[in-house]
């Protein structure tokens, strides 16, 4: 099968909308199709990776644990925008999985290398 580079870009907070969860479903399927998958987290999207989701009060299933399973799907290229973290008072230590923190310009370069960019 042809392999293409897919980047899934997350810009939204985890539970206010369904984009984060449904983007993760795309990631898992793309990985199952043995594509070269990466994820980028920008803007409020960085909150998706923050440790300690507690969603009981809003009665929505938490998907924090799914990020931990990405490695099993060989999805290891997880890029997080430095500026978005800083703007929100976060650092890589606040995140639930190991990520590559990159400058906005550097993420732009990675985006440019992709065959397909799906932004949610």
């Amino acid at each position: 099968m042809t392999t293409k580079q897919f980047m899934i870009v997350n810009r939204k907070a985890p539970y206010g909308t369904i984009y984060g969860w449904e983007a993760l479903e795309v990631v898992l399927i793309a990985a199952a199709f043995e594509q070269d998958v990466s994820m980028a987290f920008l803007d409020d999207g960085v909150y998706q990776l923050k440790k300690g989701h507690q969603t009981k009060g809003i009665e929505i299933k938490a998907f924090e644990k799914t990020f931990g399973a990405l490695e099993d799907y060989d999805v290891t290229k997880i890029y997080v925008d430095q500026e978005s973290l800083t703007e929100r008072g976060l650092t890589a230590d606040d995140l639930t999985i190991p990520v590559e923190v990159l400058s906005r310009a550097e993420i732009g370069k990675r985006m440019e290398e992709q065959d397909i960019v799906l932004a949610f």
Partner: protein, 130 residues
């Protein structure tokens, strides 16, 4: 060129579906090919035949149907997104014990793999969302 299109917002609330439709029309008019149109997130609502806009407004669902029938377009609705939002065809009705269907012609319900395949097969996958 071979295009694939992803529509990820529902009709009327967002312009994404309108723009995707107009883009698809323009692509075909220029003699290009559309490998597939894939509907995800609230985009699946573009596929309910029960949509009834006021008479002086565009009918977004019928417009997709007509374009697809005239050009033999493959229009695929994501099954997981459709199940969540109550978009149902015969197969889904039986599988999930529902008493009705609402999927418009010639949409079909299938998996997210169809989106990935569209990305692999097309020269460009163009996303219409917010």
């Amino acid at each position: 060129m071979k295009f694939a299109i992803l529509v990820s917002e529902g009709p009327y609330t967002h312009q994404a579906s309108d723009t995707a439709f107009l883009f698809a029309q323009a692509v075909l008019a220029k003699g290009h090919e559309i490998f597939r149109v894939f509907f995800y997130h609230d985009g699946v609502y573009n596929a309910t035949r029960l949509t009834t806009p006021p008479q002086d407004d565009r009918n977004i669902v019928k417009r997709w149907t007509k374009l697809a029938q005239e050009n033999n377009l493959d229009m695929v609705v994501c099954v997981a997104a459709a199940q969540r939002r109550g978009i149902v065809d015969d197969g889904e009705m039986k599988r999930n014990g529902k008493d009705a269907t609402n999927l418009a012609e010639p949409f079909r319900i299938s998996g997210l793999g169809q989106l990935i395949e569209a990305g692999i097969q097309a020269d460009r996958l163009v996303v219409f969302g917010d």
